[in-house]
Chain length 311, copies 2
C-alpha cells in the first residue's frame, strides 16, 4: 500500500491499435501506423499492432500485413499480432510479427460464441501455433474470461490455473489472464494470483469501472506485466454503454505517482491519445484524457464561486 520509489519496473503492452480499434469503424492501415508511431515515440516498447483474423468477422483489422510492414523499426520494440488460428499465425509470422498472441477461453460457452470452438480444440490449436512459432518469436496465450464469464458466472481459480498449466505445457512462452467482461475485483484478482502466481500478464477491462483498482491490487501482489489500451478504447461489446480496456494513461499516471518506472512519458502518451481520438472521431472513455494529469494546474483566475457548496 505504500509508495516505494524505484520499485520494480512494470511492462505495459499497448493493445489499443488492435483491441482498441477493432470495435471501431475500420481505420486505414496508414492511420494505425501513425498511432503506433505516436505510442513508440511515447516510450511504449510492447505493442499489439495487428490481428490476422477474418476481415469479414472483424473488418477493422483488415490490412494487418500492411500495418506490420509500415511500423517503425526500433531497437527494443516488439510488435505483437493477435492470431486466432494456424493460418493467422502463418500470416503474422510472414508479416514480421515479433510475438504472437493467441486467445483461449476459460469459459466453454464464451469459447463457443467467440471462436466457435470447444476449449479443448482451442488448447490444441494454441499448441499447434506454438509449434509453428518454434521458438522464433514468443507466443503469449491470453486466457479470456479468467475472472468469470457472463454465461457460467464465476469460474474456479484452480480450474483456470490448470488450463494455464496445460497451455504452458503446450509451448506457451507466457500467459496473460484477461478479465474479458469486467467481472474481476481486487478479491478475484487475489484469488486467481494465489493459484497462478505473479509471473503472468493481466488484461483488464473497465466494464464495471474496476480496471484500475484491479491493476493496482495486482501490482501490489507483484504482477509486473499488463495489457492496456490508449484512451481506454476497446473492451468487450457484451456490456453496451460500459467502459473499455484499462486506459494506458490512467495506469501510467498512477504508476508515475507511485514512483514505478514504465519507460512511458505521460505527456507524449496523451499526444498518442489525441491521435486515437482523431482516428475514432468520438470522445474517449478515459477520464484522464478529459481532465489531464493531476499536476496540470488551472489556468489563470478561472473557476467560479460555488456558494460554499463545492466539496
Amino acid at each position: 500500500m505504500s509508495s516505494p520509489a524505484g520499485a520494480a519496473a512494470v511492462t505495459i503492452r499497448e493493445v489499443g491499435p488492435r483491441d482498441g480499434l477493432q470495435v471501431e469503424a475500420p481505420t486505414p492501415p496508414g492511420a494505425r501506423i501513425r498511432l503506433v508511431q505516436a505510442l513508440v515515440d511515447a516510450g511504449v516498447r510492447e505493442v499489439e499492432a495487428a490481428a490476422f483474423v477474418s476481415p469479414r468477422a472483424v473488418p477493422a483489422m483488415a490490412g494487418g500485413a500492411e500495418v506490420m510492414a509500415g511500423l517503425p523499426r526500433r531497437e527494443g520494440v516488439r510488435y505483437w499480432a493477435l492470431v486466432p488460428n494456424l493460418r493467422g499465425a502463418e500470416m503474422g509470422l510472414e508479416a514480421g510479427a515479433g510475438g504472437l498472441s493467441v486467445t483461449v477461453s476459460a469459459s466453454p460457452a464464451y469459447s463457443r460464441r467467440n471462436v466457435g470452438m470447444e476449449v479443448e480444440e482451442s488448447v490444441a490449436q494454441a499448441a499447434a501455433i506454438c509449434g509453428l512459432a518454434g521458438g522464433r518469436v514468443p507466443v503469449d496465450v491470453v486466457v479470456s474470461c479468467a475472472f468469470g464469464s457472463p454465461y457460467e458466472g464465476d469460474l474456479e481459480p484452480g480450474a483456470v490455473a490448470a488450463l494455464g498449466r496445460r497451455l504452458t505445457e503446450g509451448g506457451a512462452t507466457s500467459l496473460t489472464y484477461a478479465d474479458t467482461t469486467g467481472m474481476a475485483t481486487p478479491r478475484r484478482v487475489a484469488d486467481l494470483l494465489a493459484e497462478v502466481g505473479t509471473d503472468v500478464g493481466l488484461h483488464l477491462h473497465e466494464t464495471r469501472g474496476t480496471g484500475l483498482v484491479n491493476a493496482y491490487a495486482a501490482w501490489q501482489a507483484g504482477v509486473r506485466r499488463f495489457d492496456t489500451s490508449v484512451g481506454g478504447l476497446g473492451g468487450s461489446p457484451f456490456a453496451a454503454g460500459a467502459g473499455g480496456n484499462l486506459a494506458t494513461e490512467s495506469f501510467v499516471h498512477l504508476l508515475d505517482d507511485l514512483g514505478v518506472e514504465t519507460g512511458i512519458d505521460l505527456d507524449a502518451l496523451l499526444e498518442a491519445a489525441a491521435v486515437v481520438r482523431s482516428i475514432v472521431g468520438h470522445d474517449l472513455p478515459s477520464p484522464l484524457v478529459a481532465a489531464g494529469p493531476r499536476d496540470r494546474l488551472a489556468a489563470g483566475t478561472s473557476g467560479e464561486g460555488g456558494g460554499g457548496a463545492l466539496v
Copy 2:
C-alpha cells in the same frame, strides 16, 4: 490486499441528494425526498440530504427545509445538511438536521474562489458553527482540496493535518478529507493518512478515474468512513467532461465482493440509481449502472461471434 470475510464494517455517507444533484438542473423537493426514500430503503443510514446555501448561488438546493421536513424518519438513520455559514447552520438545525457538514478548504486560492473567504475566516466560522450546534448534533468538517488544489498544486500533508487539528480543537466532531478536484492517488492517500491517521472520512472523486482505487487503498489502510454519491453524480465542475463523485454502487459492489459489510443492498441501491437517473434525465457516469453487477449473467443465447478477436 487479501479478502478478509467479515472485516470491519464500512460506513457510507450518501451525498447524492446534495452533492450529486447540486450541479444538475433544480429538482423539486418531492423528487429529492423520493430519492432519499429509495436510498434509505436500500439500507443507507447516513445521508447528506440538503444544503442550506444561497439559492441564488446554488439553485438546485433551494427548498432544503421542505426536503428535511419530508424525509422518512427511521431508527438509526441520520440526515446531514451542508451549511456554509452560521445562518445556514441555524436553518439546518431548525429544519431538524441530524448532523451538519461544514467545508473548510486546505487551499487558500480555492477557498477564496469557492466561498470568498480566507482559510482563517473559514476555520473561525467552522468553530462558530460547532459552538452553535453545542453538541446537540455532530458537526463533520470537510477539508476540501486535501489532496491538492488546481491552483497551488500539491499541498503538504503535514500542513493539511495541522489544519485538521485546528478544526478538531475548534469543536469538529469528525473530519472528512475531500479530493475536490480528483488529484488523489493511492500514493497521496497513503501520504495523507500517515499524517492524519485513519479515523477520518474520505470524500473521493472520479475526475481522473481514481476514486475507486483511492477508496480501496484507504480501506486497506484502515479507513472505514466514506462519502459516495449514487450513480456517480456530482463532483467539481472544475474539470468538464470528467467523472463525478465516487459512485456508491461501485464501492458497495467492491466491498460486497471483499465480504465487507456496509448494510446496503446492491440491487436496491441500483433501484435508487434508477430514481436519480429519472430525476436528472441523462445517463449516469457510473459504469456499474450500465453494466450491472458482476454476477448478472448474460440472458439466454445472446452474444455474437467475435471472429476470435475478443479478449
